[in-house]
Each structure stands twice: as C-alpha cells, then as structure tokens.
Homo-oligomer: 399 residues x 2
C-alpha cells in the first residue's frame, strides 16, 4: 500500500486544449530475429516493450491493488470495454473522473473494443454492417454497439490506447465468412478513424483474416493504408493449432510499419510470448497468469505446478526457490496449498502475485536479452527440458 | 507489502530452555469506570489493551496479508484451533515451524480451544466427562478432543495465549444444564492447568454460567482459585438479550483479579466493545468487522452503511470522509459498490481493510480517552444520534 503511483501530466496545447500524447520509439532491434526493444509514451506515462498487460476485466486486476501491480513491475493494464460499458457504465465512470481515477490506477490503460466478448456471446448477438446487437450476459437487456459508439465509450473511459470494434471469428470458420468478416472489420476500422478526435485515446486497428495468408495480408494492407497509432493481431488463440499462430505472425508482422507498435491480443503462454516477441510483437494481454493463479496453477522456473497436489502438503519451500516475489519470499507451498483447499481469498491474491511476477519477470529477462544482443541464446536456453519448451521456428534455427 | 514485521526473540533460561514470556501490566485505571489501559507481553511482542483481535479462522484474516494488518494497526490476532486441527492439522503446522511461521505473522497469536465451534455442531457432537466426540464439518470423520488434547494442539501451533476447552451453552438453556456444564468446564480447566508445561502458551480459563448470577460467580471463584494467566468471559453473544451481557459483566469482572487480563470472547459490535471496556474488559475478538465487510456492510462515523445500495452508484466520496484508511484514501463509494456487485475479490479486501481500521481506530480512541481521563466523555459523545447508540448503564449515569 505504500508504493506511490507517479502521475504524468497531460500535455496541453497553446489553447489549453488537451491533446493525446502518444509516441512509440524503437530503442533497439535484434539482429537475429524480428524482436525489438521499445517504449510507448502516453498521457499516463510510458511503458517499455516487449510488455505484458494484465487484464482488469471489471475495473480490477482480480484480487490485486494498483500498488501491488506496481510492486510486481506492471507498467500498463487492459480494461474490458464490454464489461465496463454494461457495469457500472461508461457514463458513470466518466462522471466519476474516468477509469484511471475510478480504479486508482495512474499508469497507462489500454481498453479493448468489446468485440471479442460480444462475439463470444454466440446466439445472443446479431451482426450487421452498421454494428452488432447483443444481449447482456448480466440481465439479458438488449444493446447495440457500432464502431462509433465503441469509440465514444472508450473516450468516456479515458483510456490511453483504444481499439477499433472488430469481429473475432472462431476457428475453424469457412474461408468465405472469414473474408466477409475481415472486410467488414476493415470498414469498421475506417469509420472508427473518421470519428476519432484529436483528444481521443491513441487508436489501434486489428488485423483479422483467420489462418488464411491472403486475407491476413489484405487486412494489413487496408489498415496500414488508413494509418493508425498501432496495429493489433486479432483472431488468434481461438482454438487453432499452435503452429498457425507462428505462421500468421510470420505473414503479418513484416508487412506492418516498423515505427508502430504491434499488439498480439489475448496471448498467451510464456512460450507463446517469447515466440511472438521473436516474430516482432511488442506487447500482449492475457488472462492466463491471473486465471491460472485462481485455479491454483502456478508458473515456476521448472514448469507449471498445481498447488493443490498432496505432494505439497508439508512442503516448506517457496513455490519457486529462484523467485523473489512477495509470495515466494514469505510463504511455503504447504501454506499456499492450505489456503487453496480452504478456499481462502488470500489464496487467489498470493497466487496471482506470483504468476504475474513470473510473467513480468519473463518480459524483463527478454528485454535484457534484446538489449544485450543475446535473445537467441535466451530463447535456446529456454528450450531446455526444464525450460519453456517452445517449438523453435525453422527460420531461427541457427545451427 | 513493504511494512516489516518486528520479530521478538524468545526469552531463554540459563539452560537454554525456552520459557513462555507472558506478562500483563495495568498502566492506568479509569476513575469513573472499570476500564483499564494495559499491556500484554508475549514471546512474540506485546500488545496494548483494550485490544481487538481479528479472527484468522483458517490461518488467514480473510483476504488480508500480515503486512496489511500491521499497517491497519492490528497488534495480535486469533487463530481457530478447531479449524487448524482439522485442516491442515496441528502436527503439519508444527513440522512447518508453528503457526506464526506458517502464516507469516510474527506478532502475538491467541488460539481458542475449539470448544465454541465443536458445540456449535449440534447433533454432530457428544459430550462426556472425558471430553467431546464430534464429526468434522469437512468430511464427517470422527474426532475426540479432551482438555489435555486441546492443550497439546495449541502447544503444536505455538500460540502465545491458549484457551482451556470449555462448553459454550446456547441461550436459552435450562438452569440445571448450565450448572452441570459450568462445573464440568471448571473441572476441564483444572485438567488443562495440570498438564500445562512451563514452555506452553499462557493459559486462560473461561468463565461460564449463562445468564445466572450465582453460576457466573461460582465459575469465577473456582477458576480464580486455580490461578490462570488470564480469564475469559465465554457464553455471551449467543442469542441472549443485549442488556444481559452488561449484567453478566457487572457480576463477573469485579470478582476477577485486577492484575490479570480479561477477555470477552466473540464480542462484538462497536457499542458492545465500548460498553465492555467500561465494565473492565481488556480485549476482544469477533468476526463481525471482517464478515460484515465481505457482505458489503461498512462501519462509518455516522453509522453502518450497505455499500450495495443504489444511492452510492455515482457517489465519488470515500466510505467515511473522516477515515484515513487505505480504502478511504483511494477509492469512492461508487467503486466499492461496483466491486461488490461485480463479485470482485478486491471488494472483500478493501471493505475488510476499512472495517478493521474502524475497529482498531475505535480502540485507539478508547485507549487515548482512558490515558487522558476522559473515557466517560468519549462514551457520552458516542451516544449522540450519530454515534454508537449504546445503552448507557445506570451506574455510569453521572448526571
């Protein structure tokens, strides 16, 4: 509770009109891969890339305070537009001073467009050129969201990085549908850009096109031509085989402008992240570390463990003896197992602190490796039997 | 997370045998009531009285870390022998270094005897002179606990203050049963004392006798004759009318030795606490502030509020504008309402921090009032329309 959160002043124009301060800088490019070290500056401070953004679905990173996130090393978080729009409502949040003030988080916030959640509702939603009609999962009430409305919501939330409304198609889907959907997502991106105001959050487009190279390429070309502050790769981690993610990234990232950040949405495992960094991705969000934590699955330097297992009943060691997180500094596996089995709230907290620290620390190590020109060695060392067990992409095989 | 916990070294004898270091000192007695300001010293540091001990049922004060408790001002906590005996087991905790190490709390711990929980099981338990047989609420397994066994369990846990096994009779109960039960509880107390070792926790006896003056008096006389480190008043807050608690305290505390601490078990509301302090009680434990917090009921300087109410939907004010707790410093009622309705884990945390701070701060104010000889004024000022609304006992009416 004692960590202070740095507040960054909004830049003002001559007429005292606030303008959005967004800048991306590539600090260093890796020689042996597409990886880059970079920095994203926003009205609420900067974060270094490659970065991992924990997911604050309903206005909190489940179980943690902002001070704890800062202590873990989190520099930016994601908020879910869909959830906040439904409850407590973006207008309420705006009247209360915006999302940063509402949730007491003074660093960068990226908000998604709600598209992923809406399209996950299945039969509860209906799509048209104009937008998407859906029923709330909370009370069944009917809602309509268009690209313009989603911009308005994210404006009210006061996020630093906004996403365009997109359709995330499931895997597998017929080629024809993926094509129609991708083209509509591109038209929606254009509409989003057209209503964007100078004071609005930075706006990222979302590349779609499923697992089809021609559609992904077309999507990139259309979006890059329009010109966004950054580009996300969507529609991955939706059930497709692991290798396809690498394929889509290999087709896509080389076509994206070098001077704009690249965001891989909803990904992923530590292996996925390391792999995608080498394929040119700058940042990530995923519920995996926080959700796993609440289910008692913990990441360690020697693989995942399930803390509920009987083997930990009298294990006085920390989760990971190489870890310096708050949980590993003070608590035994036996205590964490006890808290989990006893359904104590502290279980979710201590596990979440550990897993998020694991992710953030992985990114710290990746950034160090890029800085020092040893990312490929880092990558290889993490393919050891006790490492990340990533599938080494053919074009990185150096020997 | 950054608050450090002071570790207090155990006193050693000449032969390096650890002995229990327990001492109670009355620092100041109030002139107009039975209230006393005091200090209890244990192997794990001291705490000032009147004190409130939050309840760590299963090895955690629900939702909070020890560092947060320290920041709130908590000086000592209670652990439930019944729950820890069943899960993870006292022998497991002993092998892991004792309860303090297991839960990462380095300040005083009082453990109850498990009596209250066992006797709350109703038909699942059977009492005899030897002890009590009961079935676990977790898995239905059968267990037998005697006064001696309960001493052994608390020895394994390594608590600083242990309680004798007692029977807590419900209200109302037939006079004859309360008498039989009280007498057995006294015999159990004697057996507990007989097996107590020099290195064991300080041992408190529990005064029983329901709402019957003669039985309470007999109970006190028997227990005081045996000589314990301190005396608890049990069997209150079990459904009896409010005024009876004052009556029992008025009959009981004057008969207890002045130089021994007095503990009112399982009590209570802020009003109960202030009232009992004036009737000579030194410390309390109760689940009320923590349980209420999780249910969205918050204590404020102008009465209790239910944070789920619609009136707080856009209320940007803190829970209590006069409060300086972490929650009130950083979050609005609207956000706390949102977290509660969204069933976010952070809701329980922030509410628990506030309610415990309210309780600890009440005790701070009470201690200050005793120190400065203005407890009666404090008491009266809290009977204002917006105060604690306590029933002012007749013998304190000064005008």
């Amino acid at each position: 509770m004692t960590v202070s959160l740095a507040r960054v002043r909004t830049r003002l124009t001559d007429t005292n009109q606030e303008v959005m301060a967004f800048r991306f800088e590539v600090i260093k490019k890796d020689n042996l891969s597409q990886a880059r070290l970079g920095r994203i500056e926003t009205d609420h401070g900067s974060f270094t890339t490659p970065a991992f953004l924990p997911v604050g679905t309903q206005g909190s990173i489940k179980s943690l305070t902002p001070e704890e996130l800062v202590e873990i090393g989190v520099e930016a978080i994601l908020g879910n537009t869909y959830h906040l729009y439904l409850r407590p409502g973006h207008e309420t949040i705006e009247r209360l001073g915006g999302l940063h003030t509402f949730i007491h988080w003074e660093r960068p916030i990226l908000t998604d467009s709600g598209g992923f959640q809406i399209f996950s509702l299945g039969s509860l939603r209906k799509i048209s050129e104009e937008g998407v009609t859906f029923q709330s999962h909370l009370d069944g009430s009917s809602h309509f969201l268009s690209p313009e409305k989603v911009m308005e919501i994210q404006r009210s939330l006061g996020s630093d990085i906004a996403m365009v409304l997109d359709e995330c198609v499931p895997y597998p889907s017929p080629y024809e549908y993926v094509k129609v959907s991708m083209e509509r997502t591109s038209r929606w991106a254009k509409r989003s850009l057209e209503v964007r105001r100078e004071t609005d959050p930075a706006l990222f487009a979302i590349v779609q096109g499923g697992v089809h190279r021609d559609l992904r390429e077309k999507s990139v070309h259309k979006l890059v031509e329009m010109g966004f502050h950054g580009y996300a790769i969507g529609g991955l981690s939706v059930g497709e085989p692991k290798s396809m993610m690498s394929d889509v990234l290999k087709w896509t990232t080389p076509l994206l402008p070098e001077n704009k950040p690249r965001y891989l949405m909803g990904v992923g495992t530590p292996e996925d992240i390391l792999n995608a960094v080498m394929l040119g991705i700058d940042f990530f969000d995923c519920v995996l570390p926080t959700r796993n934590a609440r289910n008692g699955t913990l990441f360690t330097s020697s693989g995942k463990i399930s803390i509920k297992q009987a083997q930990y009943a009298e294990d006085g060691k920390p989760v990971d003896e190489t870890c310096t997180c708050y949980t590993c500094r003070h608590y035994s596996r036996a205590y964490l197992r006890h808290l989990y089995l006893s359904k104590e709230i502290l279980s979710s907290r201590l596990n979440t602190i550990h897993n998020l620290f694991y992710y953030i620390n992985l990114l710290v190590k990746i950034k160090g490796a890029i800085q020092e020109g040893r990312l490929l060695d880092f990558y290889k060392s993490h393919t050891s039997p006790h490492g990340l067990e990533i599938e080494f992409p053919a074009h990185f095989q150096s020997d």
